[in-house]
Amino acid sequence: MTNPKQRPPRWLDRFFGVLCRKEELEILRGDLYELYEERVREKGKFNANFFYFFEVFDLLRPFAIKMPMGTTQISMFHSYFKVTYRNIINQKVFSFINISGLAIGLTCFLLIFLYIQDELSYDRFHTDSEDIYRLAELFESDGVGEHSASVPFPTGPVLMQEFPAEVKGQVRFFNFQSPTVALANREADKAFNESRFFFADPSFLEVFDFEMVAGDPTSALDNPEALLITESMAKKYFGDEDPVGQLLEFQGRQPLQVTGVLKDAPDNVHFQFDFIASFSSLNFWYRGSIPNGWYWNPCWTYVKLEKNVDPRVFESKMADLVAKYFPDYIKEDVTLELQPLEDIHLHSKLDYEITANSNVNNIYIFGAVALFVLFIAAVNFINLSTAKASKRAKEVGVRKSLGSKKSQLVSQFVFESVFLTFISILIAFGLVILLLPYFNNLVEKSIESMLLVQPAFLAGAIALGLILGIVSGIYPAFVLSSFNTISVLKGERVKSRGVQFRRLLVTAQFAISMFLIVGTMVAIDQSKLLLNQDPGFEADNVLMVPVIRSGIGTQYESFRNTALQSPFIKSVTAVEEIIGEKHQTENYRFEGMERSKPFPRFYVRHNFTETMKMNMVAGRDYSREFESDLTLALVVNEAMEESMGRGSAEDAI
């Protein structure tokens, strides 16, 4: 008897049994066993199992595989396939238009679908992403003020201290509100301006799930002067050296030591970072005391709440915190809000966002366009297929007189159109894979083509193909198979039915196309308008030099004088933020007002209106001739003047 130890793997044996034809099974299994036993004797069990695996698959050839259907059905499929093939070849141009039309439509649909899917995936990969919120500060009086994505320094820690039962963790991000900061690897003589640099609390890796490649995630940000960098930054500054323990010089003055390397943040995170420095490093810049006031609100603060906390209830509790801590003169104007992390990318449009977010309306618009395109492509396909089918009345007549059953005719047509849709789907998938790199470039994303092979996606594609194929095949199938055989064969003209329906489809298709084209033209016009619209200043020939946290700020006058000596420089000014990008808000109390209110403000230096070619309605720009201008003068715009309720521009001065 066979030694049980020498049995080939059970599952393979069973697998073969399921797929192999009954008549062949005993003989083939016998062969497999005989070869297996011999191999076990000669080369050992492992070797035998290995070969057994391949032999099983090798044996599953056409003659040995069990057919799921009877032979009649198989030969019917053969015939369907043949007829389909002949039809495609016979009318090459028509088939080309039909298949490529559907394929192109599907490609658009798939690309937009991938785009939307990516947009919806933002910030969802953290384990507790649904419990993470960003604190936002609404600071407004009579509709003027700011709705800030960042809050004052102490907010996060105080929140944790006041509500230990609700708040699981908090992390603050701070970057001096500076567009770029300077970093240098002195040893390798590499220095760059970096825009994605943040100081963050040590809880950064507890609140968020960013992966570390090197270093200890629990303690990496515990000490001052500690720095986490991403893999690509490690490469940029240190090449192939081990970055951990190395020093990077921050703003030319503070040495930061790399304590860990982070994996590059995925693209679907609403804020992108390259460097995370420990929050305590800030002591260096603020002479040992990190700002503690409740007015300046530069810290993007994220809190993780306990599972059972209702964010609405918690928001009302935060109102008490505002009343307790915020300074009296702004207390009444401030509301602290919670923004769900997952909603930030699509729904948040606050002031001082870390990076500009997307807009959920885009998703709706793109989604609608995708559906429209798919609809047009499908209607087009159905129309062409049905139009073509009516020319095949004669073929149907011959088939019927040869004894085709109605069901066979129907399956013939359905098979054909399903076949065509699947070819289109295959082409569309190919096109998507081909176009994805360019598409990614266009929309600034990095969607991977591997997303296409998710089971849900494939199932969707197959379902789509089947539905489309059946819908466009079944109509001609029933119409044609109901023709009177004799009159068709006699060559009498068959009244084509369903013309009304097809006309309706064509009209709808045409209307949607027009709608999309007009919509696109309007959108192009709008963006042209945005680009060419007069913003009130002229940016032509104006050069911006970012000098934040560099020496130029304090040495402005000598910088200006040197610059003006150049024949190429007409005037020099300095402003606190990039003009047109954002502005700060500050409390002012004008004559006649009981208490101060927040107003948008923009600090500038002399020659601002001259440099930017702005028009003064009345009065004058800051002047060097008036010493008091340095600290006391104010230029207001027309809207401001209105809100002050003065009569005319001249009166206001």
């Binding site: 003989i27 016998g30 062969d31 036993e37």
Partner: protein, 110 residues
């Protein structure tokens, strides 16, 4: 004689079945094939050749009795048919004739 066309592999299999006479079944054919030609055909390739040859009528098969080998499973023995023999004869004849028509000197070296 279109239907008697034989592929090289098929012809070898057919010849080996004939040579093994009463003992021709898959494994013995596989082994004989290896000793005679040095090639080691896979069991799947052999079975599919048997299948084709049987369809063409060059082989016929019958199942033997069960033994203790092979987990108690039967073997399928193959015999060459008269038609198969004829196909081999024809192929042999064709090759011999063609071979004799080769010029005696190897012209490729000139």
């Amino acid at each position: 004689m279109k239907s008697t066309q034989l592929g090289e592999f098929e012809e070898l299999v057919l010849l080996i079945v004939g040579a093994l006479n009463e003992e021709a079944y898959s494994i013995s054919i596989k082994k004989e094939f290896k000793t005679r030609t040095g090639r080691n055909p896979s069991i799947g390739a052999l079975h599919s050749a048997f299948n084709r040859l049987e369809k063409k009528g060059f082989l016929r098969s019958e199942e033997g009795g069960a033994t203790n080998e092979r987990g108690g499973r039967r073997k399928r023995f193959y015999r060459i048919t008269a038609f198969g023999r004829k196909a081999l004869d024809y192929s042999y004849e064709l090759r011999t004739t063609l071979y004799h028509d080769l010029p005696k000197v190897n012209l490729a070296n000139d």
